[in-house]
Structures are given as C-alpha cells and as structure tokens.
C-alpha cells in the first residue's frame, strides 16, 4: 500500500480530524490541570487517560472525573 | 393583618418530632425575630412556610393563601435566604442576579438599576469573579442580594448573620432595618442582640412550640424578672450577708439570691415594688455594717428572658 499517496488522497478527512481530536484533548487536559478537585483519581491518572484514550478519555473525564464545583 | 399564619402545625422526621402544634403569626410590615436554640426547628419552620417541606399536620397561610407542599403559588410574594445558599458556580454575581431578575419579571431598565443597587448594598459591586471562587461570607452576601432583589412582600432569612464577620453583621442588620416598611421580614437567629437591635416582634421556639410571641416591649414587661445587683469589695463578710439575705427571703421581701463568687456580687430577685425592696435591703445592710460598692437595678435583657422561657 502506498502510504504517501493514501495520505494525500484523504487529507480533507485527516486534517480536520486531527485538529478536532487535538482540540478535544487540549480542552480536557487544560481542565484536568486547572481543576485538581477530581471526584476520584489523581492528576497523573487523568492526564494519562485524556491523552491516551482518544475521544473516550475526555468524555470519561468530564462525566466521571471532574469535581462537582465547576 | 398577619402575612404568615402557621396554624397548629406539627412536623416529624421519622419518629423525631420537631414541631408540635406550632402557632405562629407574623404581622404584615413587621420585622419578626425568630429565636431558638440549635435544632429547635427554625429552619424546618421556614421550609414549611415556603412549601419546601411537607407538614405532618396543620395548615400554613401566606398572604391569605394556603401553602401547598412542593410547587406553591404563595412563593410569588416571597424571597428566601437559606442557611447555606447555593448558586450556579459558573456564573458571576451579576449574571446570577440578572437571571433571577429575568424570571421574576423585572423589566430590563429596572432590573439593571436594581442589580446595581443591590450589589452595592451588599458590597459585591464590580466583582466580576465567578461564584465558584466566592468565600462563605461572599456567598452569604450574594444570598441576601438575590433574596431581596425583586422587593418581595415577604423576606425570609435563615440565620443570615451567622456566616458574616462582625462588621458585615452590623451592615446587614442596618440593611434589614432599612427595609422596614417596604417588606415584612422574618429572620431566624440565635444571637439575641440582633433581635433586640432591629426587631419589633419576637417569637421564641422551644420544644416544638412557640413559647413566646409578642412585641419586644410587651415581652420585657411580662417576662422580666425584677432583679437588683449588689457588688462588694473583698473585705466584705459574705457569710453574714447571705444569712441576712436569707432572712429577707423568709420575710418574703425578696424571692431569690444568687451569689457570683468571682466578682463579689449577689443578684437578688424580688416581686414587690422596687423602692420598698431597695429600702429594706439597704437598711438591713447598714444594720450589719456591710456596705456595697454599688447597687444597680437590673434592666431585663432578652438573654435573661430567653433563658427564663426555655427553662
């Protein structure tokens, strides 16, 4: 399979996808760092989850990890 | 006319009875101090008046309309400051008040004006911080602001001064006093000084009943024990003094003697005319050559009345 030509063909899909995933990750990451009052878990754990688990990680953080006072 | 009528209301939580046939009338236009010890049921009573709790027995009327548990129409005319007010932490104080002003129907221009006034009144003007960063005292101030924002006919405040520093407490009491005539205020407290300063009426809640409900003046007249305070210097012989005073009790001139050791004082209770009692008292002291350094006719304090009532 020709990787380069595949990438070039699908840039209109890949570029926005990467940007969006990155935005999501950064949004969650900033929140994790700025609000260290989690319902459970540690800062390190949530940073790991948010960065490694694309899509699901940030959602999990906002649903289960984020402290109530926000 | 009474804006609040609590008629024979009982309230139990499980097997624990908090209110037991409570009657309470709050005259329209008054500032009503609602006094009682911790756990007496003040918060519960207020929640019942606002339909936030369900009565076990009895009816409550606000502005002549019956209060129903849950959604109640009577809340149209009320404003409430809970003991621990809760807000939306993501809003600023001004945004929160704007929201409150919107749904209570204040027109835009009036709303802006009121919010500005109210924020200044409680000392939160120009504060752009989100509420999540507020201290307990700031939340209390915002709580006061939201409760009085739309000039409710009936303002109910639950221990409003307890989270404030002495200065804030003073300001708040003055604020409440300045609202007199504009709205009826029911506020609970365990600080009797607050009541004495600004209230026209006082109700004392104890053991699920209102032990006292009257104007402050009338209360002082009914409940005041007549007392005289005598102070001596160290040299005084207290055993002779006490024997002498006990003799006066025998003769039914005075009713009770209480000795306060550290201060070389005695407090004498009596139920006859002051001039007669003081005359006899001084004569017998002169006869025994025990001279007080001071003699004072004690004015009844709300504190002593309160202690008397709940005894």
């Amino acid at each position: 399979m020709n990787g380069i030509s595949f990438l070039m063909d699908h840039l209109p899909l890949l570029i926005p996808l990467i940007i969006l995933q990155f935005t999501l990750m950064i949004t969650a990451l900033i929140h994790v760092i700025k609000h260290p009052d989690y319902r459970f878990g540690t800062k390190g754990m949530w940073i790991f989850i948010v960065v490694i688990l694309q899509l699901i990680g940030p959602v999990f953080y906002f649903v289960f990890g984020k402290g109530d006072n926000e | 006319m009474n804006i609040i009528e609590v008629k024979n209301v009982s309230k139990s939580f499980g097997s624990k009875q908090v209110l037991d046939g409570l009657h309470l009338g709050v005259p329209k236009g008054s500032i009503f101090g609602f006094v009682g010890g911790n756990g007496a049921g003040k918060t519960t009573t207020m929640k019942l008046i606002l339909g936030l709790e369900e009565t076990t027995k009895g009816d409550i009327f606000v502005g002549g309309e019956k209060v129903t548990f849950g959604n109640t129409k009577t809340n149209r005319i009320t404003g409430y400051l809970p003991d621990v007010p809760e807000f939306y932490p993501y809003m600023s104080a001004e945004e929160y008040l704007t929201f409150c002003g919107e749904f209570t129907g204040l027109k835009k221009a009036e709303r802006k004006q009121r919010i500005k006034e109210t924020l200044t009144l409680v000392g939160l003007e120009g504060n752009k911080k989100r509420i999540k960063g507020f201290s307990r005292g700031m939340k209390q101030r915002l709580g006061i602001a939201q409760a009085m924002l739309n000039n409710p006919e009936l303002l109910i405040c639950d221990e409003p001064t307890s989270a404030l520093d002495p200065e804030g407490r003073n300001e708040f009491l003055e604020l409440l006093a300045s609202l007199k005539g504009k709205m009826t205020i029911l506020f609970s407290t365990h600080i009797l000084g607050d009541v004495e300063r600004i209230c026209d009426y006082v109700g004392i809640l104890d053991e699920g009943k209102l032990k006292v409900s009257s104007s402050i003046e009338a209360l002082k007249q009914t409940y005041a024990k007549s007392q005289i305070e005598l102070s001596f210097d160290e040299a005084a012989d207290f055993s002779i003094l006490i024997a002498e005073l006990n003799a006066l009790i025998e003769q039914e001139i005075i009713t009770e003697v209480e000795k306060i050791n550290e201060q070389n004082q005695v407090i004498i209770s009596y139920n006859k005319d002051y001039t007669d009692v003081a005359g006899v008292l001084l004569e017998s002291l002169i006869a025994k050559k025990i001279m007080p350094v001071s003699l004072r006719k004690m004015n009844p304090s709300l504190e002593s009345i309160f202690l008397e009532v709940i005894r």
């Binding site: 209109p12 935005t23 | 548990f69 149209r76 404003g79 809970p82 939306y88 993501y90 919107e102 109910i156």
Partner: protein
C-alpha cells in the same frame, strides 16, 4: 412562557461554561468525519489483516457504507455521550439545592422541566445535524454513486428516537438521587426496548426500530410509513415522560 426562554438560556450557559457543549460539538464533528473515513478504510484494513490470501475480491465501498457508519456511530457513540453528559441534569440541581433560591421566588417547577427538555432537544438536534451534514458533504465528495437517495427521510426517525432518549434522561434524572442512578435507569429503559425487539410482533411499534432500519429508509427499500406507529409511540412517550417529570418534581424535596 418568557421564563422558559430565560431558563433555557441558563441551560445553554451551563452547558457552555462547563465545557459540555464544546465536548459534544467536537465529538459529533469527529463522528461526522469518521463515518466516511471508516467506510473508505474498511477494505484496506481487511486487505491488510488477511494479506493476499483473501480469495474473494472486496467490493468497493459505496455511500451506503458511509451512511451505515453514521447510523452505527450516532447510536453507539453520539447518543451514549449525550446520556453520559446529561444524566445528572435534574438530580444535580436537586442534590446541590440550586433550585431553592429560584422556586422560592415563584419560579414554577414545570418551567424548569420544560426548559430543560427544550434545551436538550435543541442541543441534540444541533449536534445531530452537525454530524449529519459533515458526513453528507464528505459522502457526496468521496462516493459518487446514487445508492442513497433519501438522506433526510432516513435521519428523521433517528432524530425522533433521540428526543425520546432525552426525555427519558430527564425523567430518570428527576426520580434519581444522582447521575449514576439516572444513567442506570436510562440504560435499563434502552435494554427493555432491545428485549422487546426480540418479538417480531412489536417491531413496528418499538421505538428502537427508529435507529435500526435507517439504511432501508435511505435506499427507499423500506416504506417509512410502516414505522409511523413507532414514531407516534416515541412522540407520545416523550410527552408522557415530560409530564411525569413535572408531576414528580412538583412534589420533590429540593
């Protein structure tokens, strides 16, 4: 009436300031892009995992594969994320006591329920359309076949089902103490729908059909009229759930 607008505005602000709206928008956009992408990549992935040993030719992906992904992702990811993020919408307010200041000023409790449902439905519609138009645009660009004529007709039932799910979230969150309980109850309701789907007799009436037959609607292979009963039932269930939420909140200790 005006108060419904004011309270919905508060819901919007809440969703925005707590980052939930942003998260939803990003996720639905990502889903919108992923649908055509996965459809395009699937043959390559199969090819790679089987090597050249695969005896049959893998058919070229079509627009139907892209839309197939859309309906799968919308239900398995989109609706689940919405449920996760909003399952505490009422129980949170009740347990924190944030409604006390408001109702003691005369705000009707029914206003709270109606505003929340209106806001959540608007938010669902917006997010669904976001993913829908992104998928549609890419599908038109990458797949030039005309296998998928009825795009709007196919997505309409999904929208109706989303509304049912939202009113379910509202009701379960009104009866629950916290968001976990609400989540559990909502999950239970969906499982119940799936279980009922085992019986063919109920198929036309079961709201879950609205999320499983969309590809047939899309091709025109299935007449949407057949599923009118399921849509009407969803609609009336939604109204019932809103009504029940009001009744329950009206007598709830705040």
């Amino acid at each position: 009436m005006k108060n419904i607008y004011y309270f919905s505005k508060k819901e919007f602000l809440e969703s925005w300031r707590t980052s939930r709206l942003l998260i939803l928008m990003i996720i639905f956009l990502i889903l919108g892009i992923m649908n055509p992408l996965i459809a395009i990549l699937t043959p390559d992935i199969i090819q790679m995992s089987f090597g050249d040993s695969l005896p049959v030719n893998i058919p070229e992906p079509t627009s139907l594969d892209s839309w197939g992904q859309f309906y799968q992702n919308m239900t398995q990811m989109g609706l689940i994320v919405i449920t996760l993020l909003f399952s505490g919408t009422m129980s949170g307010e009740v347990s924190k006591g944030t409604l006390i200041n408001l109702v003691t000023k005369g705000l009707k409790r029914s206003t709270v329920v109606i505003s929340k449902s209106i806001y959540l439905i608007l938010q669902w519609s917006f997010c669904m359309l976001l993913a829908f138009f992104v998928t549609w645009a890419y599908t038109l660009y990458y797949f030039t076949d005309d296998n998928s004529p009825h795009v709007f007709l196919a997505v309409f039932p999904l929208w109706i089902f989303g509304i049912l799910l939202i009113t379910t979230i509202l009701l379960t969150s009104t009866v629950s103490k916290n968001s976990y309980e609400g989540l559990l109850l909502t999950g239970g309701f969906v499982v119940l729908l799936f279980v009922m789907n085992i019986f063919d007799k109920f198929e036309r009436y079961n709201p879950i059909t609205l999320t499983s037959e969309n590809i047939n609607f899309l091709q025109g292979a299935s007449n949407i009229g057949n599923y009118m009963p399921a849509m009407l039932i969803s609609f009336f269930l939604s109204l019932l759930f809103i009504y029940l939420s009001i009744v329950i909140l009206n007598k709830k200790k705040l």
